[in-house]
Symmetry: T
């Protein structure tokens, strides 16, 4: 099973960016920890980060035929990008939306997600550990679906 | 570590209630599975379900001094109950909000949570498995906080 | 055929409560008259009144397997209670919403019903006589459905 | 007692128009059945259908002095027509609003009635049978008022 | 003169609940102080606290015929409960709304009261001392009304 | 100078329609009085009343080439009819909007006029006397414009 | 009969202020013309202009006992001033609202009047001639009321 | 193949009505040009214009059984008429919505169409030439559907 | 201790202004009664009334250094005046907002206070007696603060 | 005449992306067909597709001086991108907006176009054939303008 | 060149008023510094401060004929005063709006300016130094306009 | 001191783009003039322009550690881009927002800035000269902060 982990704008700053809000763990720290879990679960990870909305759309298009599911933290684009939502719907890959902070407890414009109606699940507020929970959840879902399809 | 798992209205119907939407797993199934994970994690569970808003407030008051954290699926009250939110804030216990379905992909009146601004994290859309993810997340957070407090 | 008649908060005050608005008939008067019509129609009535939202949810859960349809006047909870709406949808019983007054001609917050999208029909403005009309309507619908199912 | 039954735009299509939504009964079927009930209740019916808003206003003006009460299904005009509302208020005839479908469970623009604040009661969701219930309700109300006036 | 003092959800936590916001005085402290004032004013107090919305409705129904006026702090239900508002209007007892904090200076969803249009007066922001002010105000109003009625 | 006086739905009921609101003067009374003023001012009147929106549009089209200005009381259509507004703009005739009642002091849906942005002036709240004021205003304006055009 | 003509902020600039919008007539021109009409109608005029909201409130208080009716062009305060509205309601003097331009055809914030619900009538869009129409309307109304009161 | 071309209020004024906005082509010019294209495409046209909403509903009812598709320019009714929308849905004829101007670049109340959710396509902003484009589009769609149905 | 009592527009009309709404007590009556209570409490009163918003701002500026707390009934300015709110915040004096009527039970535009977020408490609906309650509350608060500060 | 055809995000997925919604024709199919029509009309096409908002802005800047008109399907950016709108306005090239689906019959956030107020015309709902109609419309318009300019 | 510097309510408190928000510089400090810059630029300053809205209107009227441009910090009136906006538009003097704080980063009701649509430019967030920037900007603009007019 | 000047989409068109709105000065003209001022102030400028939102985010990330403050004209992205706002907050560099036109006097969607709550100040409406004012303001602020930090 191959799972893409797609990160959006400013996540490359993680660890140094507003640490009181986003914590001191870097995106590399998260990736390292996530690869350990992936190995435990027997899945392959494709991990990337992009600051451009179009670059994220391109990356998602590249998932078609090569990826079974995705974990998406689209950062600030989560709240407005119909293009990323359409790309995810267009390649027909189940995905879980992840946010480091509890976006539903933040400013009004961050309390909504333009991706949510296409996502299978949402996890937010666990910091970097939310990626691990999302990965476990995704693998469990896919395993169930495969079992159901036999 | 003791963790309360608080369930709201209609969750006792689980497994028979609109299975296309909520799945065929019963609340007892979820509890049984969650107790296995709790044993693995070395935590004690207090598991309950209530149909009344006031009963939920009462239950939360009972957590004070006896529970370290909570996992809350307040069902339909999630979207409107300031009283449950205030009870949770009043007893000062960190809690994770769980929903079986991805509430942010449903009808507009279910896309907001009155509890969210007091919750540390939200998990929704994983069905009963979301309880397990939330439990893992809660235990991890508490462990970190304890480590940080030493 | 068994039909539940479920009444919500403050309806026990009927006859004495704001009579200019709600009339001088008591809930017992309405029940007495309704039982006469039920006898005529050959249906059994389960008639109850509850002031608590959770109590109404409990009562609705009790309908499962024992009641064929319901007549619901949820009083003030009609305008806000997703929990009662979900309970009714959860037990899969067709129900008619009844209001003594024409709620769509009243204050803005009473002009909407949180139950309406799950109800098969709505009758409001006929005072206590609306219960009788709703009962006739429910029985007629069920008879048609039974005929159609043969 | 004379009662007008006023039908609005597109109701002449009934039976053929979107039958999944509006049923297979024609307006003539409804009228025929309603005349049987009227005979039983000893009231005279004036039954008409109009596609024009102004034609409905004209028809209502014609009720003055010749009709005791009305049953109004203004179709799509129900949601927007202040002119029909004013005509009904202007001729001072009590009327019940009837809709075939449960309009409060439909699209947002159909969830409000411009007539409601002038209507004595509303019945919706019973299909053609709602006309019969409305007629019984109207006659009962008028009988009570007459009794009260003596 | 008998005056009911009705307290809503979470007020039993007072003194320990978010003391920075609600102060360190307990509900028992407030009751004790209020009974001293009541004795001075020559009125009898019925003091209660309830976490359930339905329990509050029940309590209000019990006021009928036995209580002359009420002092109501409905806590979080103040902002949404039409059922409590209707119960108060239904038993026709003048009441003053009290809040410990200045709710009109708090979060938007706490800036409105569903009870206000039925209340004779509102006092908020004085902490527990507001109960005493409200009691004095109520007694004065009743005295005036009695004087006016002679 | 020829001036059209166009009246909308339900104005034919004037004098008998809700007299507490609209007064006891009939439309014929208003017309009679207005013809006296027209004679004094030396203008010719074309006076009509229509219940249909399309009939009003037709009437307005008829003004082209034969009428110099208009006085329009579109009744309930004033608040919603873009078609009547477009007809008036389409025939390029200056018009004054007249209402018997002060519509800006009435229900919210009557506080706006769909015609206003095409009207030169508005008079409301003077009952039938408002027609006379509007006529004087129109004639004065036209006289000025003619003087200015020389 | 004594009639106050009260003018609000910036009306002293009339004639020089944005003439394309407000015309070239000065406030003195309007007053002069209005005094001619007042003489014809046999009424006494008190004409004033104020730039301060409080000054307008003071002026209105001065009308009590000395003025029978008023003509009010509150300029920009018309759209927001509850204080002026309350002053007019407080001294219980019938008044007509006048605006030089058709405010309902202007920017959204000018399309509403805070005075309208207390005014008996509104005239707008006739420029300075609107004052004359309003005066005629006021005198007519007062004459009718006097006749009715005998 | 027979195609109805239905035109709404004020379109009979075309060519003379606000030519800066709507152009100098008359409706007869558009019809003449459209008949040439229809001949080329081998389809029969039924071309009509109506100022009344009810008349448009009547015309649409007449399409049932005699017309294969329609081209609808409902003019000002496009923005508000649920009755016309329901008539079109009721007779189950595919239709294309046409507007001379780009309505989505005009005043807010003209930026929405009440017909759009029932239309298969929309063309606006091409003036009279839009009718020709719509006709070509409709014929192409029908041809495809016929090919697909074989 | 010195306490300012600041009254806003139209309060000088009290006793004669809309007595059904505001009562028959004059502002002088209120002041007289309040001075008796002040004497009892051992505080000095500075009592004033202003119709101008700027005059109220000036008066508040004058409180700096000479007044310990204030009681503010800003009348109609309460609902809109950021300037008065800023003046009160600018001079850093704790104040209680008082209203004669229960503003939260009145028209929508009176249900909000622009001062509330800077006020320590609000009392409304007790008529003139509310001033006395507010004065007692203010003195109690200040006494506590002084005790706390020692 | 040179005409640019600019396609936005996810349109490269056409044919495989949600075919029930967007059809089975690929973007290459559309381009091929469009080039045939372009040849017939004697115009040169510049056809491109971009997933990035900035890339679309760059492409539009490149049109200046080399392109006479454009056909723009900005995909998901249509609903939010002021930057693309400004680029099109900035290079002063007339353009037609094209959408495969009838966006005005879709989800609310897709019912508005940020480009519309700068576009000369809109065609939506015809699938790939809409490009051909738009091309014919553009060429006709330009021909007329050229004829008018001579 | 003469330039007026107009300051609104509470700005006289500057330096002592909420210094964390508004800084410790007094209005006299700002004026002193600004006069130095004015001398450098060769312009004459008229500097004033007013707490009343009407006083500001009066001051603006006084600018007519004697002032070339203005710098306006209307304080709290900036957000609501149409009267000040109309006065500035009425005397036809170009003006720059200045705010000490970045009003667009503050509470919602302070994020809009009623003056903005009449202002040529806005500077906010620079504290007292913003006056100097605004003065330089104004002088530069006027110089350009004078150059352009030659 | 090093200061970045970051320009957003379409600003490369300056001078040729809608000159009536944006002026005839090119971005190179602005840069040239700004470099003269920078030399005078002794600061180093990094000047860039980007059409892509992601490119702007990348550029901002590059400022970390190498730039002391920034001047940002994000063009059309100013109104919607949370990503650019987060990038600016993420690198913790004080910045001033600049706009050529007075955006608060333009279309509603341009009257708000998504960057404003993170900006220290805003200057808009001075055309290219606003860059110079913003640079002077930034340098002054930084100088003060440096002085304060010593």
């Amino acid at each position: 099973m191959r799972i893409a982990v797609l990160n959006g704008p400013n996540l490359n700053l993680l660890g140094t960016r507003e640490p009181a809000l986003y914590g001191t763990e870097s995106l590399a720290d998260i990736e390292r920890q996530l690869r350990i879990v992936a190995k435990e679960l027997g899945v392959e990870l494709i991990f990337s980060q992009h600051n451009g909305e179009g670059d994220m759309v391109d990356a998602i298009h590249g998932f078609r035929g090569s990826v079974d599911a995705a974990l998406v933290n689209a950062g600030a684009y989560s709240h407005t990008s119909l293009a990323i939502r359409d790309a995810l719907a267009g390649v027909s890959i189940p995905f879980v939306e992840v946010h480091l902070t509890n976006i539903f407890a933040r400013e009004p414009e961050r309390r909504r997600s333009a991706l949510a109606d296409a996502a299978v699940a949402i996890i937010c507020g666990f910091g970097g550990y939310g990626y691990e929970l999302a990965l476990r959840g995704l693998v469990r879902m896919q395993a169930r679906n495969d079992a159901g399809a036999q």
